[in-house]
Amino acid sequence: MGYAFLALYPVYLMIVSSLKENAEIYTKPLTLPEKFSLESYKAILNDTPFMEYLFNSVYISLVSVFFVLVFSSLAAYYIARTRFKWNPFLYFFFLSGLMIPLKLGILPMFLIYKQLGVLDHHMSLILTYVSSGMPFSVFVLVGFFKTLPTELEEAARIDGCSDLQVLYRILVPLMRPALATVAIMNFISIWNDFFYPLIFIKTEELKTLPLAMMSLFGQYETDWSVLFSGLTLSTLPMLLLFLIASKQFLEGMTAGAVKG
């Protein structure tokens, strides 16, 4: 399976090159480093606001994912567990977001955020990610609710639980796998998103990692060791998460595309 090598080699190259000195990258790009050097990592951490970029990415991703989970589970519960005549329409309305290229609303979004005074502010990204995450998340959670038996909830209701108590005491523990899927899928797309920050964020200290890569490549054009280090650092959190929870990642990826 030489193909597996092809998939991993560029990533391996990125990590190895970040540990080399520049001269060695230019003369022997394919070898292991003769001596491991962490100089370029020091340069990034000392000379660029890298920790701020990292904080921005972490903060925006976590806050957005949290609200996606709360909002979409409430909506999915309503669609799957109540029987009002507009439920199918509501479900279809959320689903239509999977077919419409939502990014094409970027010009009006830009003007709306400008009027709200949140342009060039993390709030603009959080609002964008929470709202664009709805279609997929509602879709996955409604599908999951439909596979759950209703007896437990009915028993809880007879014991006098309200809808909210039923959802958060009975269902959330049962929904863990589906919630994990939704959280991971949204996290991947938010963490890696480049387009929205490019349009909305201008202040250097507010940039997320993918956008910060642009500044880095402008600033260190010829210092390849630093460039590789920057790419490695911005990828590492995601790679570590993947190693911990690769099974959930792989299951989540196909949740939207394959009928389970």
């Binding site: 709360v70 709202s131 009915e154």
Partner: protein, 304 residues
């Protein structure tokens, strides 16, 4: 199945979908449809002028410079789609089939092939820029090492190869996802069908052609639709590898990079919002109609 309590909570339940609905309508649905409206007006910077009907579209399709850029870009989207479709489907099916046949360690291969998909496309683009750099890049160094000196070309710097280089990098990024889709499809095929085929002496390539591929039609359809949508939205990778101009000499320019320049950079000038929105409407119509038609065909087939 809702057991309705006979008190205020009967009405409280309607608050459940509200937060999701509110953000989704306010920040996604309204902007998308507002963009359709924007395209019908004359714009002066951020200020909306008169209603001018379809004039922005006429400009987009007939203005000597702009229409040239538009045709050039949409042509690249079509190439992007067709080449991606062939390359990604062939490679993903082939690898998924190998994993499916030799089930040992299949889990590991799934994990390994999926790694590129975890990177931000912008990171993928910058990383391959460094790898494909004509002077110091690892790719050309590798070619020289194995004696293919004449293949060591500036892949991203010449108009004849830049677009294909990007498409291949994109295939590298997407392959893990394709494998997952095909593997799920393969594992859904009932074993006894394949065993019956083998008893009849239908094995190997013949079995793939006559039995496996027809049964995989749903997976192939999904891949085709997703590749289409993805190809017509292609932006990040091109931006990272060739800049917003879709260089060299617009040879990798696509609808999305053109849209970006029209709306947020210099190409649109003061009428940017009108022209950009007109282009957004064109993209909207292409993508949404293809998704809707394919969804309709798929539900029709699964109900048949």
């Amino acid at each position: 199945m809702a057991a309705k309590n006979k008190n205020a909570s009967r009405y409280l339940i309607h608050l459940f979908p509200l937060p999701a609905l509110a953000v989704y309508v306010l920040f996604m649905i309204i902007p998308v449809f507002t963009a359709l409206g924007y395209s019908l007006f004359d714009w002066h910077g951020m200020v909306r002028g008169d209603f001018i009907g379809l004039k922005n579209f006429v400009t987009l399709f007939t203005d000597p410079q702009l229409s040239g850029l538009f045709k050039n870009a949409i042509g690249h989207n079509v190439i992007y789609f067709l080449v991606s479709l062939v390359v990604q489907n062939a490679a993903a099916f082939y690898l998924a089939y190998l994993i499916y046949r030799k089930y040992r360690g299949a889990e590991w291969f799934k994990v390994i092939f999926f790694v590129p998909r975890l990177l931000s496309l912008i990171v993928v683009g910058f990383l391959w820029n460094l790898i494909l750099n004509p002077n110091f890049g690892a790719f050309n160094a590798l070619l020289r090492t194995i004696g293919l000196e004449e293949w060591a070309l500036p892949w991203l710097g010449q108009t004849s190869t830049a677009l294909y280089a990007i498409i291949l990098v994109n295939a590298w990024y997407m392959i893990g996802f394709g494998i997952l889709i095909y593997l799920a499809g393969l594992q859904a095929i009932p074993q006894d069908i394949l065993e019956a085929a083998e008893l009849d002496g239908c094995i190997g390539f013949e079995q793939i052609r006559k039995i496996i591929l027809p049964l995989l039609m749903p997976s192939i359809t999904i891949m085709t639709i997703l590749t289409f949508i993805y190809s017509f939205e292609a932006f990040d990778l091109i931006f990272a590898m060739e800049g917003s101009e879709g260089g060299p000499y617009y040879s990798t320019d696509t609808l999305a990079t053109l849209f970006y320049r029209l709306s947020f950079a210099k190409d649109g000038a003061s009428s940017a919002i009108g022209l950009g929105s007109a282009l957004a409407v064109v993209m909207f119509v292409i993508i949404a109609s293809v998704s809707a038609i394919s969804l309709y065909l798929m539900t029709k087939r699964s109900n048949a």
